[in-house]
């Protein structure tokens, strides 16, 4: 995905949503060999709904500042906030200022802030208030005139999906969603893009409904679904690791791999998210999007290029090859955290959390075994697990290799030798570990597991961009490879829906002690296959 803009080139107007003004092949100053010059977004306005939320304050606004500080935002870039607050532009600018000061990754520079803040506007109103959206429409067209933003708007819907229908309809009614006719002189059309965050529905049907709502107003290529995991350096590094090297691809198949474990564990509970979380649960919250995306990147075939379409095709292919366990009771596990001690502190159980009904059957831990019906992976199980209030916070993809077919050592020599493993650590401590057997120094021949470690390193990651910086920039440039398409969302729900249905009808989540590695049924699920989870 470091391939610059391969997906955005091409003959112009047929596809105005993905034609970025940047990277225009007609610009002689852009030389593909000149990699010092970064991709910079063209003139545009970002309209943000839900500016009072945590995500906007902690991630989105700081990311915009960091982009500006790195010189990646266009001159005149403007940010319009829309929310149900009695604020003036200055109040919103002040909120933005505070969130930038507190959360930005790059050092605070007054001049950068000055430049950014000149383009900050606020429009107060309810989502069903026609007048407020008319004001919004006037505000952005005024920005076009005052700041030369060229009529290009990105709408960031950082709001609960239940508001989507209203907001999307309002954008249509007020004419904001309509890019208008092409410029008679240049033949260019301005663009409209809409950014949505997970959850993309809670099952296949609702995902389709949600999509229909957005799709009715915005064409598919201008909808950007954010899965912030895909913006992470380590996740993009999966592609580099697999397809830029010769070392791994020959063993990346059923001939060598015994099984794959994909884990995302959190040490925290649900915090203040009771309203959202209850009824959704760990599988819908994490497996449907993050873990299945990681599975797709790990298991897919080599795309013909890193253009958005090629990449998405391969991901869709492999997701459509996923087969569920025949016996869902034996091939899945779910749990709910009980009171206990986590990280040295006494914590409540899920059912005792504020806002959770005492008879809730929502799971906070989910594990599934998936098979892939492809030549490469036939017979290799992919174990996915996620949970809250587990031993520690960690996300990783572990390829566990088969044991050597023959060991020319005495059995006692290799007693401590485990399976070879290649582990991609997504967070924290991003990097790659290779585990293999090595002789223990000394007179006897004794073989023991050792790690060979590549770490992006603490200091190194300090300067690597946040996932949201990368993703927002890609939206503004119109570069879609890192955003899942509706087809992928639907395929993921097809995988998860039967499991959710089975759970709803047959099981109650098993309680597990907070701070433990998960419920006993998850361990039993692995033990039946003669395997064990990697230690958290």
């Amino acid at each position: 995905m470091t391939m610059p803009n391969a997906g955005t080139r091409g003959p112009a107007p047929a596809n105005p949503g993905v034609i970025a003004t940047a990277d225009d092949p007609a610009n002689p100053l852009r030389d593909p060999r000149d990699r010092r010059i970064p991709r910079v977004a063209g003139p545009c306005v970002m309209v943000m709904f839900g500016v009072t939320g945590d995500l906007a304050r902690k991630k989105l606004m700081p990311a915009l500042y960091d982009l500006a500080n790195r010189g990646l935002l266009p001159p005149g870039f403007s940010l319009v906030g829309f929310a149900r607050r009695d604020w003036e532009d200055e109040d919103f600018a002040q909120i933005t200022y505070e969130s930038v000061k507190e959360h930005a990754r790059t050092p605070f520079r007054e001049t950068v802030w000055q430049q950014l803040s000149e383009g900050v506007r606020f429009v107060p109103g309810e989502f069903d208030d026609d007048a407020a959206f008319d004001t919004l429409a006037r505000t952005v067209s005024q920005l076009d005139r005052e700041r030369g933003t060229g009529g290009n708007y990105a709408f960031y819907l950082s709001i609960p999906p239940k508001f989507f229908p209203t907001v999307v309809q309002q954008l249509k009614r007020s004419g904001l969603s309509d890019p208008g006719p092409a410029d008679p002189v240049t033949g260019r059309t301005s663009w409209r893009r809409v950014v949505i965050e997970k959850p993309f529905g809670h099952d296949l049907e609702s995902a389709r409904e949600l999509n229909a709502i957005v799709d009715a107003v915005f064409p598919a290529h201008s909808v950007f679904r954010i899965d912030h995991y895909l913006g992470k350096e380590t996740v993009q590094n999966i592609l580099a690791l697999r397809f830029a090297n010769t070392l791994y691809e020959p063993i990346w198949n059923r001939g060598y791999v015994d099984h794959v474990q994909i884990t995302m564990s959190e040490d925290i509970g649900i915090g203040g998210r009771a309203g959202y979380y209850d009824g959704i649960g760990a599988a819908r919250d994490v497996i449907q999007n993050h873990l299945l995306q990681l599975l797709a990147l790990t298991a897919m075939e080599e795309p013909v290029s890193f253009a958005a379409d090629s990449l998405r095709q391969e991901k869709e292919k492999v997701l459509s090859a996923v087969r569920l366990p025949v016996d869902l009771a034996a091939g899945t596990a779910r749990g709910q955290y009980a009171a206990g001690w986590q990280g040295g502190r006494q914590v409540l159980g899920y059912l005792e959390e504020d806002g959770i009904p005492p008879d809730s059957r929502t799971e906070t831990y989910a594990a599934v075994r998936l098979m892939l019906d492809t030549r490469r992976w036939a017979g290799v199980p992919f174990y996915l697990r996620t949970g809250k209030r587990l031993t520690r916070r960690m996300t990783e993809i572990a390829l566990m290799f088969q044991r050597a077919p023959h060991l020319p050592f005495a059995a006692t020599d290799t007693k401590e030798l485990g399976q070879n493993a290649l582990v991609i650590r997504v967070q924290p401590d991003e990097g790659v570990t290779v585990r293999f057997g090595s002789k223990v120094p000394g007179g006897a021949m004794e073989v023991r597991d050792v790690n060979m470690d590549f770490a992006y390193g603490q200091s190194f990651t300090e300067s690597s961009p946040e996932a949201y910086e990368r993703l927002i920039l890609d939206v503004l440039i119109g570069d879609p490879p890192l955003f899942p398409r509706q087809e992928e969302v639907e395929l993921s729900w097809r995988i998860l829906d039967p499991i959710e249905q089975f759970w709803a009808e047959n099981t109650k989540p098993e309680q597990y002690v907070s701070g433990s590695p998960g419920p006993a049924s998850a361990d039993a699920m692995m033990a039946r296959d003669g395997r064990a989870w990697r230690r958290l």
């Binding site: 225009d24 100053l29 990699r35 010092r36 010059i37 950068v112 005139r145 200091s459």
Partner: protein
């Protein structure tokens, strides 16, 4: 920790490094390169500080090579710093007497195996970087023509001495300007007739930008002189009027476009550490720099008749 070794050898330095790593609990870093800094006592502090900062993005072993008292007896002193300011290792090497002529014999055994080597001359650039004993070891050689008394003459020398892998901070400083210019011309624009780069008298970056625009856009470029700081304006003459980017305070630029509102954009001058970090990001030859430098050398920058009494003009066409 800091370890001082006086009158030592590279073997002893290697042992001390291994020992230090062991004592710090084996906290080795995946070092991605060796950075050799060729400097003197006066320049070493700033150079090492910048390198340490750049090492946060590119964990590396820094070898600071300082030549002292050429008339003295040969002697090597080393100061090893590990687990301190930077995630890698810093070794300050002071070479006395005739040893100063054989710095490569000191640096070569201390290179991190299997990873690239970059040599940086923060102060005075050698005549032929690729032929300098410490340049021979490196695949990337970084000079700073602006540090010289006569930057333009140095740049001309560097152009003639160019080998793939050479680069100059004069070019690195141009990146922010160049990316803003590229972004500006991404937008539909009237035909460009000619252009101007205005900067302080001695400013290799401005010369390189003028040469780059001349090369890529194939339009005559004027190079005019102002009081600075740095580059103060780049503009294009078009049939509709001038497209101008001006930056008078070294921090914020104003983009003026005929018939459109002026727009502000942050365009600050960067610290040495940031320049160095950019250089370490790519270690393959920079072909665009090579072509720009060659164009500058072959076409030169001619001094044009002074039109504006305040502006001294030179033209490349």
């Amino acid at each position: 920790m800091t370890i001082d070794l006086t009158d030592t050898t590279t073997g002893a330095i290697s042992n001390a490094l291994t020992e230090a790593r062991r004592r710090l609990g084996g906290m080795t870093m995946g070092m991605v390169l060796t950075l050799i800094i060729v400097t003197d006592e006066e320049g070493q502090y700033d150079a090492i500080r910048a390198a340490n900062e750049a090492a946060r993005e590119h964990p590396c072993r820094i070898l600071a090579m300082i030549t002292r008292r050429p008339k003295a007896d040969s002697r090597l002193d080393a100061e090893i710093r590990v687990g301190e300011a930077s995630p890698g290792e810093t070794i300050v090497l002071r070479m006395y007497g005739p040893l100063g002529q054989h710095a490569d014999s000191v640096a070569a055994p201390l290179l991190v195996p299997d990873v690239p080597v970059v040599t940086w001359w923060p102060d005075r650039a050698p005549e032929v970087p690729a032929a300098h004993p410490l340049g021979v070891l490196a695949q990337r050689r970084v000079t700073d023509s602006a540090a010289a008394d006569m930057p333009q003459a140095v740049l001309a020398d560097l152009a003639r001495a160019y080998r793939p892998g050479d680069t100059d901070f004069g070019w690195t400083r141009a990146t922010a300007w160049r990316s803003l210019l590229a972004a500006t011309l991404d937008q539909p624009h009237p035909k460009l007739e000619a252009g101007e780069v205005q900067a302080e008298q001695e400013n290799p970056t401005a010369d390189l930008i003028a040469s780059w625009l001349n090369l890529k856009l194939d339009i005559p470029m004027r190079r005019t002189v102002s009081g600075g700081p740095g580059i103060t304006r780049v503009s294009f003459d078009t049939s509709d009027g001038d497209i101008t980017i001006s930056r008078l305070d070294g921090r914020t630029a104003t983009l003026s476009w005929p018939g459109r509102p002026d727009r502000m954009v942050a365009l600050h001058r960067r610290e040495t550490a940031e320049l160095l970090a950019e250089e370490l990001r790519r270690l393959d030859p920079d072909e665009v720099y090579a072509e720009t430098l060659r164009r500058l050398d072959t076409r030169g920058i001619e001094t044009a008749p002074v039109v504006d009494p305040e502006a001294d003009e030179r033209v490349i066409s």
